[in-house]
Symmetry: C2
Subunit: 208 residues, 2 copies
């Protein structure tokens, strides 16, 4: 029943981490099974939407029983590829870059930060992770088989940095610079749009 | 022609910051006017979608001329309420909280960080911004007329912190803890879901 990734729309994919997050909470609260109706109340998506989303990957529920929370969480982790580990670097060792490099949650999702890079020389290690020089970027990516780069450099620098890491072999970019990076075929880019979110907050506050 | 905020769907609102971001770039590149067709190519939204979005707020374009970039950017800023200023605090003075407190981009969007708060005592000022004690939170919010709180505390603490700031009078929350905060009527909450984004990146990398 499961389909190839290309057949599933991005909007469905983006709901998977949401299900995963709520399932984690349910399991922590001792809930062993849940109906799509109850899952609907928690997530805000309709029950039929939830069933349809999960059917894309083969189902996992049982008529009249609902979903086993532990099983469903494990299935979603498989779908999302959490079991995979990626050698990851952070480019830009400012406060944001440092915060990300140290955050255990990203490590738990399979993204192992093995080095930071910065244009400034002589920045000390961040929780035991070395801060390297930009001139060594390409060699390091190739030698250490780095697959993911987290970009926290200023906007002016982000396109050039992205180009360099992609040419060196990086397959995924998590971009925090306020600029929509677009990648070539075969490279996955997630742009985090903090400013967009803040402007949305501003809009809703103005219209309270 | 302009409608009340309640009539406009959130999905339309969330495209406004995107238009704003691209218009800023166009203006910096010296582009004075742009058609919805060209705007479509840059943003990836269809031309009719763009026209329809902007018509929600009264139009701003001219048949056969397109949009004046500077005018449209100014109009969107008005729609988004960027002209307004909000007294803002950051709760959680870890690296992420510090990065946010110092970031000029947020200040430019009207969010003035006037203090940080942390459960730990004795953290030194962050770029001249004082780090205060959690016991003084409610009094400070009331005395300084704080309207927005940025929450960067761990997940376990975020619900309690949100409850406290809302009861003290905060009207908007920008939440970085990996937990979907839900606010009471009259309080705007923007949840930043960094982990969800990372899991999405993981999915697409797995299926490359």
């Amino acid at each position: 029943m499961s389909k190839a990734a290309g057949d599933i729309s991005e909007i469905v994919i983006r709901r998977m981490p949401v299900y995963h997050r709520y399932l984690k909470e349910l399991i922590e609260s001792g809930v062993e099974r849940i109906s799509s109706k109850d899952l609907s109340q928690i997530t805000g998506y309709s029950a039929s939407q939830i069933r349809q989303d999960l059917n894309n990957f083969g189902g996992f529920g049982q008529q009249g029983y609902g979903y086993n929370t532990v099983d469903l969480k494990a299935q979603i982790e498989k779908i999302l590829g959490i079991d995979k580990k990626y050698n990851t670097i952070v480019i830009g060792a400012g406060r944001l870059g440092q915060a990300i490099a140290r955050y255990q949650g990203f490590r738990n999702s399979g993204f192992n930060v093995i080095s930071l890079f910065d244009i400034k020389d002589g920045i000390s290690d961040i929780s035991g992770i070395k801060v390297r020089q930009m001139k060594d970027l390409e060699n390091y990516i190739k030698e250490e088989n780095v697959e993911v780069a987290i970009i926290t450099v200023p906007r002016e620098a982000c396109e050039e940095v992205a180009k360099r890491v992609v040419e060196a072999g990086v397959k995924g970019i998590w971009n925090f610079a306020p600029f929509d990076l677009k990648g070539p075929e075969g490279v996955v880019i997630e742009n985090i749009r903090l400013n967009d979110s803040l402007l949305t907050l501003s809009y809703f506050m103005k219209n309270l």
